[in-house]
Amino acid sequence: MAKRILYLLRQTPYGSSHAAEALESALVSGVFDQTVCVLFKDDGVWQLVPDQDGALIGTRTVGKMLKALPEYEITRLFACERSLAERNLSPADLVVAVKVLAPAEQAELLADQDAVLND
C-alpha cells in the first residue's frame, strides 16, 4: 500500500550532496507509486532559486532536478513562508510552483505523513 512520505529539505543545494541525494530518493519514491510531497524550509528554499547552473562548479543542477518532480507525479510542493521571506525570495519567482505554508499549516502537513525524510 502506498505510504505518505514527506521530504523535509533544509539544506543548501550545493554546500553538500545531501539535497541532490534526497531529491533522487524522492524521485525513486515517486516511481514506486508512493504518495510523496516535499517541504522546502530554512536554507532548503535556496534550492528553488531560478537560473542555477551546477556545471560551473562541477556538480548537478539541483533546480533542474526539481523540474523533473512533476514527471514522477510529485506535484505537492510546499515552501516555508518565513524561510522565503528571510532570504528575499518571491514565491512567484521560483524554479517550480510551490504552495507557501505558514507554521500551523506545516505542522498539519507533517502530522499527516507516514514518514518524514530529511536531506
Partner: protein, 87 residues
C-alpha cells in the same frame, strides 16, 4: 597589510564582521555567497563569480557586492596577510 576574510557559509558572516576592520577585505565563497543576496550588511563584499552564478544569484546581488574570479582570489591572497577562514 590588511586581512583577507574568507566566508564559506552565510551564517559565518556575522562572526566575521565582529572582528573585521574597515580596511580588511571580505570574500564570500561556496555557500557563503548566499550572504551576497540575503544579508543586510552595507560594507563592501567580494563574492566568487562561479559560486554566485551556479546558485542562480547573479541578479539577486546587493549593491555592495563585487564579483571576483579565481584569478582575483589569487591576487587578494597575495595582497593580504593574514588570511582568515570563517567556516
Amino acid at each position: 597589510m590588511s586581512t583577507l576574510h574568507l566566508v564559506n557559509r552565510p551564517s559565518a558572516l556575522a562572526s566575521c564582521l565582529e572582528t573585521a576592520r574597515d580596511e580588511d577585505t571580505i570574500l564570500l565563497l561556496e555557500d557563503g555567497v548566499y550572504a551576497a543576496a540575503a544579508s543586510d550588511v552595507d560594507r563592501p563584499l567580494h563574492a566568487i563569480d562561479v559560486d554566485v552564478m551556479a546558485r542562480g544569484l547573479s541578479r539577486r546581488l546587493r549593491e555592495n557586492v563585487t564579483l571576483a574570479s579565481y584569478e582575483d582570489f589569487v591576487r587578494l591572497v597575495e595582497d593580504h596577510q593574514p588570511v582568515v577562514s570563517w567556516r
